[in-house]
Amino acid sequence: MTQADSRLRVRRQDDVTIVEFVDRNILDEANIQQISTEIGSLVESGEAEKLVISFSNVDHLSSAALGALITIHNKLKARGGVLKLTNIDPQIYEVFVITKLNKLFEIHETLDGATASFA
């Protein structure tokens, strides 16, 4: 589903598309643009109306990464799709709370919880 040098692991579980990051520093500034483009392509192709992004490998993110997530959220919303986030480390979750983005994004503790919530 993704190109050879992709930083993402993408899989389908029923009609839900699950995106995971390949390595820990994946949301540093250098990689954000590529990740944003890859996920954006998934959304624009219509392959990911129900999208879950798992942060299980992520221990750091910046406002640029938050911006990329918001852009993905907005694109998906415009197409009638839904984005959910999961497996967010407590320190990262605090960033979402400080910026009040925990009110914008639907965040689940576990992947199973996120996928089940589409039912």
Binding site: E29, S63, L66
Partner: protein
Amino acid sequence: MTQQDTSPGEPLETTRQVLDDPEHINKVETELLDDVKGSDFPEASVFAIRLAFEEAVLNGLRHGHKDLPGTPVTVSWSVTPDRLVLRVRDQGPGFDVHALPDPTAPDRLELPNGRGVMLIHSYMTRVSYNDRGNQVTMEYDRPAGDD
């Protein structure tokens, strides 16, 4: 590139010029965080300092230097057992931090930009700016009870 303060009892200060290049930014960030970890700051502090460094450097490069492409920002820091002082200076015209809109306002929540300064202020103990607004000084105190 390293400048050493010769006043007795004053902490050593490291100064670096940071280009708008991911590898170079990472290199300087790693050096800063190695100094912080070398002073046994806890992991949560490393997280906070890394975030503030990235936000301040990218603000300087992308906003301060938007009309000065290729110009590095100047980053300097000193680490003591109690505190990190981190300074980022750009060559741009400066900005008024008080004029920034609140990114947590409901009508701004879906905008992708505008959160960097807020995150710096949230994670650092003290933040101050020079009069022109092109230099930010961030101080981070070691958390109480962390010995």
